[in-house]
Amino acid sequence: MTTTENPTDAPVKEIGRDRRRKEDRRLITGRTQWTDNKALTGLLHIAIVRSPFAHATIKGIDTSAAKQLPGIVAVYTAADIGADQVQLPCAWPVTKDMRSPQRPALAGSRVNFAGEGVAVVVARSAAIAKDAAELVEVDYDELEPVLDMEEALKDGATLVHPDLGTNSNAQWVFDSGEAGSGGNATEAISKAESDDDQIVVRRRFRQQRLVPVFMEPRSTVVDPTGEQLVMWSSTQVPHILKTMLALTLGLPEHKLRVIAPDVGGGFGGKIAVAPEEVVTLLVSQKLGKPVKWTETRSESLLTAHHGRDQIQDLTMSVTKDGTITGLDVKLLADMGAYLGLVGPGVPILGAFMFNAIYKIPAYRFDCTNVFTTKTLTDAYRGAGRPEATFGIERLMDEAALELGMEPMEFRKKNWIKHDEFPFTTVSTLTYDTGNYEAATDQAMQMFDYDGLRKEQAERRKRGDVKQLGIGISTFTEMCGLAPSRVLGSLDYGAGGWETAAIRMLPTGKVEVVVGVSPHGQGHETAFSQIVADQLGVGFDDVEILHGDTQSSYRGLDTYGSRSLAVGGIAVVKAAEKVIEKAKPIAAHMLEASEGDLEFAAGKFSVKGTDKGVGIQDIALAVFAAHDYPEGIEPDIDAHATFDPENFSFPHGTHLCAVEVDTETGFVSMYKYVCVDDVGNVINPLIVEGQVHGGLAQGIAQALYEEAAYDDQGTLLSGTLVDYTLPSAADLISFDTANTTTASTTNPLGVKGVGEAGTIASTPAVVNSVLDAIRHLGVKDIDMPTTPYRVWSAIQNSSGTSGRADEANVASPGAGLGSTARDMPEGGNL
């Protein structure tokens, strides 16, 4: 070979390359470190005894039979290990007068949701623990369940927590008139009522309850035998968990070490200080032995926190020529029985996103968080922003319909134009960059919007059984959580900064310690690309260390599409410091003055000469430390903390076409196109993958998933048989693309991509379902738009359908949901 691909010898830039992931090798060969894989000498296993009732007082617990079983080490009630006295933390008191119930690790005298733990069994094996858990006899006195948010707020309602005197957790209000960021929405809407040139559109939408369903069930192992108590846990937030455990349990923080080894997905569901983590720790402390807890999938569906669950009452005033004049948002958000780590703040994040990409002159947001006797809700992919995006994008379609405008034209008329950035919104955020026109134009073209509209008209004319529907969602989101000062103004209990440290090893290899904690995102690959470019070292020379509070002692973990937009910038800052620290040493080695040096492609060079020294050689030089300048330390390692000044604002245009079988109500995906602007892209492969997965979850909210309860407060969707996730056979291939406007608030120009697909897709799908069958008299369908609901909406004179119309029982045909009853005992093949 005499030619090379890179004849100029210029290094290939890593940023922007579709690098295959470093993480993959272990994962595709089964060489993994899931928490449940952990085996320690003398390891004990626990099983948690859980309440079958949604609301009950505990009259007594008889553990005697369970204790008799060979292999049982101990059976503890809450009081035995002090679990009833624990106050699991909520880090986000959204208002000064927020009402917080005590959330114990195990219930002492009263259970407030079906699945709440009441006792724990410790055994030599998981099998024996399970056997014994079934022998624990708990005597309950059932109380009235509290299930309906509106009923729960009425006078005389049964109280989930009588000591709070109300089922209202908090009311959080934003009024642009009061904030000075816009007019008074109440006035704007009331003026519109009596204005012949305006219409007022009112809608109620329901965000159903969802379950994150990370594929790896949660697991925790605690080893108390060393000087530090070590917890391995399947968590997104090892750092927060460590600090919170210290604060909650009064443990010295320096005696704790938390490790998140391989973590199999989270989607917000593993942002928690889980009662089971605390119970595992308490048991291990009590017995002085390592202890493991691993949940089953049905235990996970029942007790790991749920997401969404809102009633949205939305009012928009708009002039007849299609200019929005006011928006009023009233939310009820179901907290469930207790407050999760950030649960009360999740709906509040939506306050900043209901105005979305539109110029809305007057805006009011009023959210009441409500306690019910259900599993608590907390972050689930998008957290507050999907709810807001769904609300506004559904409402935009409804308003366009009432105005008789094409839905995309109505959006265009109201959105922020590309030359209006930076733009400060009515909810006070400043969007740095964006170009909604560019993303929309490209999406419309890829989708063949006009062609599909034509096909739709033809099918309608023919009266086809399968009608075509087209749905739009033009969205933005706030990513990169978060500027610490903003979090402070929202009464959040921590900052939003992120940390990275770079260790330059003697052999020239580079260890990068990050505070974000990946569980599928590909940080090891993307951050290696960033470091390779920053330091001019090889992609393979970089190792990303994370998820262990011993190596990564400072961090705020992974959620809210923050890992790149905040954590990635910390990496850049640390690399800049490495170069800064290396510079005087380079100057010394090159016998030049610092001012004559330039750094490029991993090398300090003396300007105008061919003299130079590589940063990896400098690492070796400071390791030997035989010869370095006076007055500096022989060390080029660096540590940086980055606190963003602003959120980032990815946006995009999502277009969905569905086929609706008008005879059966079945909805099938037909075509999906999205063009997302996520700022500069570090690794297009990873970005595309994040979008695909996000879309699948957002589509699943629209069509498939719901955590439903019966009227006793029992979770009907308690297994994966009943909580219907889409498989590959239910979805289609998506057409995705990117437009790019670089973010101006960080040096990489990145915006974040983790949640975009989920946030944008749900309203696009529901809008398309309704678009397909509106001509049959259909007005609205609650999510998920199941075949039964779609068919019912076509049949019902109201043109609507939802859960209220349905029998509140699990399907008898759901196999495992039904086998409990009338199972033949023996005899059958």
Partner: protein, 283 residues
């Protein structure tokens, strides 16, 4: 995720299996492919004291012709059913329905006899077996007896298989040259049938000369859509004729209401899907 404790035996002949059933008494449970039983055990919805694994009895496996019948051993896997040439030629409907059962992994282990004996009302093989007028050969202490499909399915998860008995084979009459379609309707690919329709149709010169139709999940047991069958016979296989006949599909059914479907919706689906199944089978 961990079943309660049980004892386990693996007989090698039907006789041994029957003896084990007698010895095990009320608490013994037969394990066929285990694809319904193991989940039930994992969730501790049942806790038998003895599991009798039929996996070691070669005589219970395989497909053979016997005169005018095709005989399928109860332990023949779904996978084998879907690939069998004899069934393809003579009993296409059971093959079509079997292809829709669960997923490939489950079809590798699950068995025809196991699924039929489990008698889940949402299971996909009972309705075709009923429509095909299969006969169930049941072995017991006093030898074997044969039960017609119409008498085999008694209720939710209940069949004519008695205490101390086991299903050994399923005998299908030959439907050589009949078209077949199993029209399954579920929420997601993994979900059980909300309603499904099994239809096998004989068409001679464009006219339907015979029809067999069974409905899944329209009652505690599979239901035969006899009114539709009679309405179809003698008709030309046009969309109009078929849809008209299919209007009688919900007659004699008693579907339940649940979160996936009300009774009226199930009845409606039975009519729509019957029309589609018949048209496809007649096509």
């Amino acid at each position: 995720m961990i079943p309660a404790q049980f004892d386990y035996v693996r007989p090698t002949t039907v006789e041994e299996a029957l003896q084990a059933l007698r010895d095990g008494g009320d608490d013994a449970k037969l394990l066929a492919g285990g694809q319904s039983l193991l989940p039930v055990l994992r969730l501790r919805m049942a806790d038998p004291s003895l599991i009798i694994d039929l996996g070691g009895i070669p005589e219970l496996r395989g497909v053979r012709e016997d005169g005018n019948e095709v005989v399928v051993g109860a332990m023949t896997s779904h996978h084998d059913v879907t690939r069998d040439d004899i069934l393809r030629q003579h009993v296409a409907l059971i093959q079509e329905a079997t292809k829709t059962v669960a997923d490939p992994q489950v079809r590798h282990r699950g068995t025809l006899g196991g699924a039929l004996a489990h008698a889940d009302p949402a299971g996909d093989l009972a309705a075709p077996a009923l429509a095909l007028e299969a006969k169930f050969v049941i072995a017991g202490a006093n030898g074997t007896r044969t039960v017609a499909a119409a008498d085999f399915f008694e209720d939710y998860f209940a069949t004519a298989i008695g205490e101390g008995e086991l299903l050994t084979e399923i005998r299908f009459p030959k439907y050589t040259g009949w078209g077949a379609r199993y029209e399954k309707f579920n929420r997601v690919a993994q979900a059980w049938s909300i309603v499904a329709v099994a239809a096998t149709i004989k068409v001679d010169g464009g006219t339907i000369s015979d029809a067999r139709i069974g409905l899944t999940n329209m009652a505690g047991t599979p239901v035969r859509a006899t009114a539709v069958e009679s309405a179809l016979v003698g008709q030309s296989a046009t969309e109009d004729n078929v849809r008209k006949a299919a209007q009688a599909a919900a007659e004699g059914t008693s579907p339940t209401a649940d979160a996936d479907a009300g009774t009226d919706y199930r009845e409606h689906l039975a009519r729509v899907l019957t029309g589609r199944a018949v048209l496809a089978a007649a096509g």
